[in-house]
């Protein structure tokens, strides 16, 4: 198990390094950062001034090595746009995004697991079809559009919830629902297929045969086993949500990391973009790493293979 853990950890570190290098190169290749910073109407001397001042005249590899060295010490540099340390800006915005992610995940699980179980209990009936429709619509509908529908219905026409901002918990309800609906279909479908498989197994038949009540069979015996892959998927979906929050936070004006990413991209603020990409990648990597470990622990065949 120790060797397996070390191997996975090394792989995770390599992925993080590759992601950060790719992001650094892409940002620098997509635009001349000095030109972008100097703004509309800048003269060539203004651009050269910016280039020298910020060290953009050095080779890309040197700039990357410099960034990496500082990032390893926790220094992500200064935002080119806000002119304040990147770490502090991202840190200040993180709680909003984490709260949104946690609420959205809770809603997604609360919606998708019961529906998945329900669909598995009544396969190929109207209940199953209805959950399929819900899943397909959720998967197909752009999240920004769904967010606007929520705003129109619950914010504007019914007036139940605030439309934008992040002052109170109520401000998080609509964005969390929008984000949850983005993640729910996959969990719902996996719960359904897992449950179908488990419900057909011998030990469930045994449980039923010995006279256990239906809820006990479903939740104590079936769901506990069917949910193992769902937990791993939910971890990955949480990573997806962090990415998806760029759109949702922008629509609802939630002052989190996603909104910050949008602003940073808009203003070519590459130190911030770089830090956020690394943060999301690390988040993803840690979750996948934990899922890998969990799988290895649950199923010895994986770590031996």
């Amino acid at each position: 198990m120790l060797a397996y853990t070390a191997k996975r950890a090394l792989l995770a570190a390599l992925v993080a390094l590759t992601v950060s290098a790719a992001c650094f190169m892409l940002v620098h290749l997509s635009t001349d950062v000095a030109v972008a910073m100097a703004g509309e109407g800048a003269r060539s001397e203004d651009i050269e001034f910016v280039r020298k001042q910020y060290g953009f005249d050095r080779p890309l590899a040197v700039q990357y090595a410099d960034w990496l060295g500082r990032a390893a010490r926790g220094d992500f540099g200064e935002s080119l746009y806000f002119r304040t340390p990147v770490g502090a800006i991202v840190w200040a915005r993180l709680p909003t995004t984490l709260l949104l992610g946690a609420l959205a995940m809770a809603i997604a699980l609360a919606l998708s697991i019961p529906l998945g179980v329900l669909a598995a209990m009544r396969p190929n009936t109207w209940v199953d079809r209805l959950t399929l429709v819900i899943a397909v619509v959720g998967q197909a509908m752009p999240s920004f559009w769904f967010a606007l529908v929520l705003i129109l219905v619950f914010g504007l026409h019914l007036g139940w919830l605030p439309i934008s901002g992040s002052e109170t918990l109520a401000h998080f309800v609509l964005p969390a629902i929008a984000l949850a609906y983005y993640a729910a279909p996959a969990i719902m479908r996996l719960t359904r297929s897992g449950m179908l498989e488990v419900l057909a197994s011998d030990y469930i038949r045994t449980a039923r045969a010995k006279g256990l009540r239906r809820p006990a069979v479903l939740f104590k015996h079936a769901l506990r086993n069917a949910i193992i892959p769902v937990v791993a998927l939910a971890a990955v979906q949480l990573g997806f949500m962090l990415g998806g929050s760029v759109v949702i936070e922008t629509v609802f004006a939630l002052n989190g990391v996603g909104y910050l990413a949008w602003e940073a991209i808009l203003h070519n603020d590459f130190p911030v973009v770089q830090a956020i990409v690394l943060l999301v990648a690390l988040f993803y990597i840690v979750l996948t790493f934990l899922a890998d470990l969990a799988n290895g622990w649950l199923d010895p065949r994986i770590r031996i293979g």
């Binding site: 635009t31 001349d32 030109v35 972008a36 703004g39 509309e40 109407g41 800048a42 003269r43 060539s44 203004d46 001034f49 001042q53 746009y81 806000f82 002119r83 304040t84 915005r93 606007l148 705003i151 129109l152 914010g155 504007l156 007036g159 919830l161 605030p162 439309i163 934008s164 901002g165 992040s166 002052e167 109170t168 918990l169 109520a170 401000h171 309800v173 922008t250 629509v251 609802f252 004006a253 002052n255 909104y259 910050l260 949008w262 602003e263 808009l266 203003h267």
Partner: protein
């Protein structure tokens, strides 16, 4: 029990969160913008919203009345040109900044010398790089030396150059000024949550002699909402009172909402087709004046205004915004919409079947596409290259692009020197490089005599039009939407003046 407490807490949190309603009732004007200013220190900000905030918090030496374009005494009571590179100002006594610091010559000298020093990295260099230094002559008298003759200096002094309190600015620097702005303007910042909101309160001690009217709206609350649709929803739901930069299609819909008013305002941003004729132009076909004239006759500007640009805009015949000092189309040829004539000119130039050309564009794509239709009608087949502004500018500068849909807002500076010369004075953006045009623009840029300037600019603009170096099209409109309770008037410099807004 624990679960019950949790549920009760959740319900309480939801109840507390009843949205705050905007309006006249609490004398608070709630407004929104979609781009977070990088800093509230106006010398370290390039975003329109930051400019709007700055004009409410700080004051100028000189004020330009937006209704008459007349310069009026603000923090300076009088001013004079000592020579072409020197200005002197008598300053107003008895003015105080929001923190109580009295205003005097030291504030002007410190502000000017700090922001014009490139080492201090002010991002709006173009607004201050004409200042060489400022000197205190007396406690209420200053002299400002210019790097070169720059008659538009007064326009900058009445626009982006604002006066900061020297003691406070020296202590806190640009970062502190952004966190807690202190000025002498009609509104003071009472709360700033970066990236979220700024709250203002009327400055009750605003100096009575100011050419700006005393504000009547007690509080302003500015929220940052990046999505235009969300802003519109907040406006309809009475969470906001005023929004701007409303897209034309949304403006049309908001017009039908009972409690809202939608106003179209003109902006200083003008639109034209750029036609590169310099030696390395990748579009050699544009070197023929007959082709350039044909392109001028090809586009129905009036029809474009009606169908795709929207109300509030106007057709232009020379490359400048009609309200700017020195801008005129007097003496310049006008090219009417005449596709038959355009085709004849192309045939005369040796292109009876038209030609193919790469067409660069970066904004208002629907307008670009309308232009493509008009060009096709005279036989000009375009390959659209749609990209970011910086990429298109680089392509034009490097001679990779020669034909583009261009726009320019002159930084809302009401003087031709902030517009036309940027594209015709052998700068990186000059794709025509005509020495005669440059000399005429130089004469306008460097004289402090208004009449000399007017004549020089008129001749330069006429020459550009005669040579058909560009296809001047129209100014762009901007839409504002606000509650019917508000009396609000827009101006072409896109600067909402809430100090003169009133509740009805």
């Amino acid at each position: 029990m624990g679960k019950r407490i949790l549920a009760a807490a959740l319900v309480a949190a939801l109840c507390i969160a009843a949205p705050s309603y905007a309006g006249k009732r609490d004398n608070t004007l709630r407004i929104a913008g979609n781009q977070v200013p990088e800093s509230l220190d106006s010398y370290f900000n390039n975003v329109r919203l930051g400019v709007i905030i700055a004009h409410h918090v700080w004051d100028h030496l000189i004020y330009r009345d937006p209704k008459t374009n007349e310069y009026k005494a603000a923090l300076a009571t009088s001013w004079k040109w000592v020579d072409e590179k020197t200005l002197e100002f008598e300053l107003r006594r008895g003015v105080r900044f929001h923190n109580g610091e009295p205003f005097d010559a030291d504030d002007v000298v410190y502000t000017f010398n700090f922001v014009s020093n490139p080492a201090n990295k002010a991002v709006t260099q173009q607004n201050v790089n004409w200042i060489e230094k400022a000197e205190k002559l007396e406690p209420f008298k200053v002299r400002v030396r210019l790097r070169q003759p720059f008659p538009a200096a007064l326009e900058y002094l009445a626009g982006p150059v604002l006066i900061y309190p020297n003691e406070y600015y020296a202590k806190v620097g640009p970062k502190g000024m952004s966190e807690k702005p202190v000025g002498s303007g009609p509104y003071k910042v009472v709360e700033h949550q970066p990236g979220r909101l700024v709250r203002f309160e009327r400055n009750a001690d605003y100096f009575k002699e100011s050419p700006r009217p005393q504000p009547t709206i007690e509080k302003l609350e500015l929220r940052l909402i990046p999505d235009q649709n969300t802003q519109a929803a907040e406006l309809m739901g009475k969470g906001l009172d005023w929004i701007f930069n409303v897209p034309p299609d949304q403006a049309k819909q908001l017009k039908s909402v009972r409690d809202l008013t939608v106003v179209a305002g003109e902006t200083m941003r003008v639109v034209w087709l750029t036609l590169a004729t310099h030696d390395k132009t990748p579009t050699a076909v544009l070197k023929d004046i007959r082709v350039r004239k044909a392109l001028n006759h090809a586009i129905d500007r009036q029809a474009m205004l009606k169908t795709v640009v929207g109300e509030g805009a106007r057709v232009i015949h020379t490359l400048c915004f009609p309200g700017q000092f020195g801008c005129t189309d007097e003496g310049a040829p006008r090219y009417s919409y005449d596709p038959a004539k355009a085709k004849a000119l192309l045939a005369e130039a040796g292109y009876p079947n038209g030609f193919e050309i790469d067409f660069y564009a970066y904004r208002e794509r629907h307008q670009t596409e309308a232009m493509i239709g008009y060009l096709r009608a005279i036989g000009v087949r375009t390959n659209l290259r749609y990209m970011q502004y910086a990429a298109m500018r680089d392509a034009l500068r490097e001679g990779k692009a020669g034909f583009g849909h261009q726009t320019w807002g002159s930084f809302s500076v009401n003087d031709v020197s902030a517009g036309t010369p940027v594209f015709f004075k052998f700068t990186l953006d000059d794709v025509n490089r005509d020495q005669r045009v440059r000399d005429l623009l130089d004469a306008g840029d460097f004289s402090v005599k208004p009449e000399v300037r007017r004549v020089a600019y008129k001749n330069a603009l006429a020459l550009i039009a005669e040579q058909a170096y560009v296809v001047p099209l129209y100014s762009l409109p901007v839409y504002y939407a606000h509650t019917k309770d508000l009396d609000f008037r827009p101006y072409p410099d896109e600067l909402p003046r809430f100090w003169e807004a009133r509740w009805k």
